[in-house]
């Protein structure tokens, strides 16, 4: 392993982790501007409608699916419509990720989708999943408390973790447990009696499906005193979240979750933890945290660069951006099929723990799916930057096209054999080990 990381490798790494990778000219510009300035422009880029790629990809508007009643044909029809809406939603988000000029907001939203991992397979409503997605997009860079409050009041999450219909007579512990274990504290920082008391605090919510919001039913809420994390009060969902996100363990947990997904697996080095907790601060500032993470010397160093595998969505979106492919409806179906084979369809995490990170994605079966995708992508993409280059420099031109700062000797030699066939060359490059690394 090299002891230092070149300036170009550092910006290539930054563009991969804070977005979906950059093309050669974007790497050139970032290297010229410098690492710190690139971080600032990634975080300060125009957002929302000010981003032309975002403006060009408005979220879908879903027609209401009428309750089908008991009729079998009508139920099948409703299920078909729901499946179509789910595919439309996932296809829209992929396209948004591909088109957004400033990809950091989408990358950050993708991260939060994995954190508050909610699946449409149980929620069964594209409008509710879209509303959650917009909440994650809008609040993912603010105060973590604001985000946590919004999520505990989010209808899709409430369906997913059975907050809906949980009553003081028979509280359901699903949300209470995962709120502590996965969303705010981490295992080991609460007791079973905390979970049971928190479940009582979260009782009393019903879903207004037509209005897409939660309704509070005071009669179903347990308003008696509860002792949670050593404090006794009449906790409800608001005061419970305030209690949780204020815990020192919660600060460490949020930093760890961010570090493991944006930087590297495993424990956060102590000095990094100290720096990132300072940035997060009493205001639980997620943008300040991300800013500090991207600027951290360890993040730019040899233990972090190349230490993650690309998740399937990162792989597919990155390739589409590099090859200039804007997916149409037919393409979206193909892409979702690819992602299904790879085991990562947006809005369908396998469980509340979200998707794996790291080498779990690097299997023989995934290699086959990546190879099939690569062969498809080169028939749709713009390969001009490679095919117009002289054969001798096409392997380098391919690295530029894909935003890589270079190839290993092994890969360079293998690709050189295909230099006379640009489409094959790029397909092989997309299947190369270097492109599977994040």
């Amino acid at each position: 392993m090299v002891a230092t990381v070149s300036a170009r490798a550092q910006v290539a790494h930054l563009l991969r982790r804070a977005g979906f990778g950059g093309r050669g000219e974007e790497l050139d510009a970032a290297e010229k501007a410098g690492y710190e300035a690139t971080v600032a422009s990634l975080l300060g880029a125009p957002q929302g409608a000010a981003d032309a790629g975002v403006a060009a990809t408005p979220p879908p508007v879903f027609p209401v699916i009428a309750p089908p009643g008991r009729d079998v044909t009508a139920r099948k029809q409703a299920n078909r419509e729901r499946a179509q809406q789910a595919a439309q939603l996932a296809g829209w988000w992929l396209t948004r990720m591909v088109r957004a000029n400033a990809p950091l907001v989408e990358k950050r939203t993708w991260f939060w989708h994995g954190h508050w991992a909610t699946s449409i397979q149980k929620v069964r409503s594209a409008p509710l999943m879209l509303a959650q997605n917009q909440t994650l997009r809008a609040l993912g860079g603010g105060d973590f408390a604001t985000l946590a409050h919004a999520m505990v009041g989010d209808p899709a999450l409430a369906v997913w973790l059975d907050e809906i219909g949980s009553t003081k007579r028979a509280p359901n512990e699903n949300l209470a447990r995962e709120l502590m274990e996965l969303f705010t504290l981490g295992v080991g920082h609460y007791t079973e009696s905390d979970v049971r008391a928190a479940a009582r605090a979260l009782t009393g919510w019903r879903l207004d499906r037509a209005g897409g919001r939660l309704l509070f039913v005071p009669a179903a809420h347990d308003d008696t005193p509860k002792t949670i994390l050593g404090q006794t009060a009449d906790f409800d969902s608001v005061s419970l979240v305030d209690l949780l996100v204020g815990q020192p363990a919660s600060h460490a947990w949020v930093v760890t979750r961010m570090w493991n997904r944006w930087a590297a697996p495993g424990p956060v080095p102590a000095e990094v933890m100290a720096r990132l907790r300072t940035a997060y601060g009493a205001g639980r500032d997620l943008t300040a945290l991300l800013h500090a993470l991207l600027l951290d010397p360890v993040f730019r160093g040899p233990t972090v660069v190349g230490a993650l595998a690309k998740q399937p969505v990162e792989y597919v979106v990155g390739a589409l951006r590099a090859l200039g492919i804007t997916p149409d409806d037919a393409d979206q179906a193909i892409l979702l099929g690819t992602l299904r084979r790879l085991g990562q369809v947006p809005f369908e995490p396998p469980n509340v723990g979200g998707w794996p990170s790291g080498d779990a994605w690097l299997t023989a079966a995934a290699a086959q799916a990546r190879l099939d995708f690569a062969r498809w992508a080169v028939t749709k993409g713009d390969l001009g930057a490679v095919s117009s280059a002289p054969a001798a420099s096409r392997v380098d031109a391919t690295a530029r096209l894909l935003g890589l700062d270079g190839w290993s000797d092994r890969t360079r030699a293998a690709l050189q054999e295909a230099a006379g066939r640009p489409a094959t060359l790029v397909a092989l490059a997309l299947a190369a080990p270097e492109y599977a690394v994040n």
Binding site: S119, Q121, K122, L161, D162, I164, G165, S166, R169, A170, P171, N172, E173, N174, R177, E181, V187, E192, S193, P265, G266, G306, A307, A309, R340, R341, G343, P350, N351, G353, G354, P356, G358, D359, A360, L362, T363, A364, A365, A366, A367, Q368, A369, L371, D372, R375, S408, R410, T411, A413, A414, E417, A418, T424, L428, A431, P433, E434, A436, V437
Partner: protein, 405 residues
């Protein structure tokens, strides 16, 4: 419907998941298995263990049902089965109505029901409790799986223990060696010079950092797997009992067990197979979901045991989950995370009948069942009587063995 599957435990189980992969849990090919079968077939009569992990926390009380117990019915009136709905086992217990095939095995005395299986100070976290079951270390986190430690004691052989599906469960991760993951599904490779180039891409590089090396290994393994045994997998995929879920997916339990049956028939030198079924986290609307899953389990397992019933090697199949569920139902016609649960062991060499005492429904620990049988007693029995190993070496202490095999 919460889709708890094996994949999640590779992330969130932290230490164990990461080390499982780092310890070189290579994805092996059919080629390796076939070569093993040809050059050193499993000696006739050597027992084979198939371990089925049910992810999500299967409700034990609605699997082996104390239907006649009034405390059962009053704790979960909307979820309870009546005595005439369950498949009678005697002693006031009956199998879930979806387990018809297993009830047949019970009648043939080829199904053992180990009751009240659990461990002290139970964790209600999916991640932590599954780690405990897979590492056999309830007191403190461990970085090796219980079968991984058995593998360590055997010396390196990637064929000795195999999991089905693309990823390796922590239970097969040892300190110095690991089991292997065998993918499912069909393969399509390039041809001619493109294949030559693709082959070169997967060559090991001396200076590759870990993640890059893993990516190259994946490319290389794809060739190993696809070249020799692609047609076999294609054939299996076409004849499989249930729908495919893609080459990278774990496949249905029936698909996984189809591959195991083919391996057993080919007499590959594998002693342990790990398969899984997820989705048991039934906090709401439990009855329909669990019946559907248990139905899948029943069909897959009884179909599989039928196929291997006359094989040269006796097959012992054991099925467990990370915990059972709370005795009392919640307000959503579901149950929350619980503790002890029955563990099922089946096969022609199994001694049918009950083992262990049924936990009380009235003497509860904070609403949860008190375990009566330490899960490590089950492991000790499997290690000693199926794998011919010294349980103490794997489990670090002695546990009374059970009489189910």
């Amino acid at each position: 419907m919460d889709l708890w599957t094996r994949r999640k435990f590779l992330i969130a189980s932290g230490v164990v998941g990461a080390s499982a992969l780092a310890a070189g849990g290579a994805v092996i090919g059919w080629q390796d298995l076939a070569r093993g079968a040809a050059t050193r077939p499993l000696a006739g009569g050597t027992p084979v263990l198939v371990l089925v992990t049910l992810y999500g926390g299967n409700d034990g009380l609605n699997t082996v049902v104390p239907a006649g117990d009034p405390a059962y019915r009053s704790a979960r009136p909307d979820l309870a089965y009546s005595p005439d709905q369950v498949l009678d086992l005697g002693e006031g217990l009956g199998l879930n109505p979806a387990l018809k095939g297993l009830h047949g095995l019970w009648g043939a005395e080829q199904l053992a029901v180990v009751r009240g299986v659990g461990y002290p100070q139970p964790s209600h976290s999916h991640f932590q409790s599954m780690d405990i079951w897979q590492t056999a270390s309830p007191a403190a986190p461990a970085s090796t799986g219980w079968l991984g430690r058995w593998l360590d004691a055997q010396g390196r052989d990637p064929l000795r223990a195999v999991s089905l599906g693309g990823t390796l469960p922590p239970l097969l991760a040892g300190a110095t060696t690991s089991g292997s993951a065998l993918p499912l599904g069909a393969f399509r490779l390039p041809t001619g010079p493109t294949l030559t180039s693709f082959t070169a891409l997967g060559a090991p590089g001396a200076d590759d950092p870990a993640t890059l090396a893993a990516a190259a290994t994946a490319d290389r393994d794809l060739l190993t797997v696809a070249h020799t045994f692609g047609p076999v997998l294609d054939g299996l995929a076409r004849t499989s009992a249930s729908g495919a879920s893609g080459a990278a997916g774990e496949g249905s339990l029936a698909q996984q067990l189809d591959v195991v049956a083919a391996c057993v028939a080919a007499r590959v030198p594998t002693r342990v197979y790990a398969v899984s079924l997820g989705g048991f986290d039934t906090h709401a609307g439990e009855k329909a979901t669990q019946e559907q899953l248990l139905g899948q389990f029943d069909q897959a397992v009884t179909g599989f045991l039928g196929k291997v019933a006359h094989s040269a090697n006796p097959v012992v199949l054991a099925a467990y989950s990370e915990f059972g569920r709370r005795v009392q139902a919640n307000a959503n016609q579901g149950t929350d995370h619980g503790t002890a649960a029955p563990l099922l062991v089946a096969g022609t060499s199994v001694k049918g009948g009950f083992q262990g005492a049924q936990p009380s429904l009235t003497d509860l620990d904070e609403g949860d069942l008190r375990f009566t049988t330490d899960f490590r007693s089950v492991y000790a029995t499997l290690l000693h009587r199926v794998l011919g190993a010294d349980p103490h070496q794997v489990l670090g202490q002695d546990f009374p063995q059970l009489d189910f095999v």
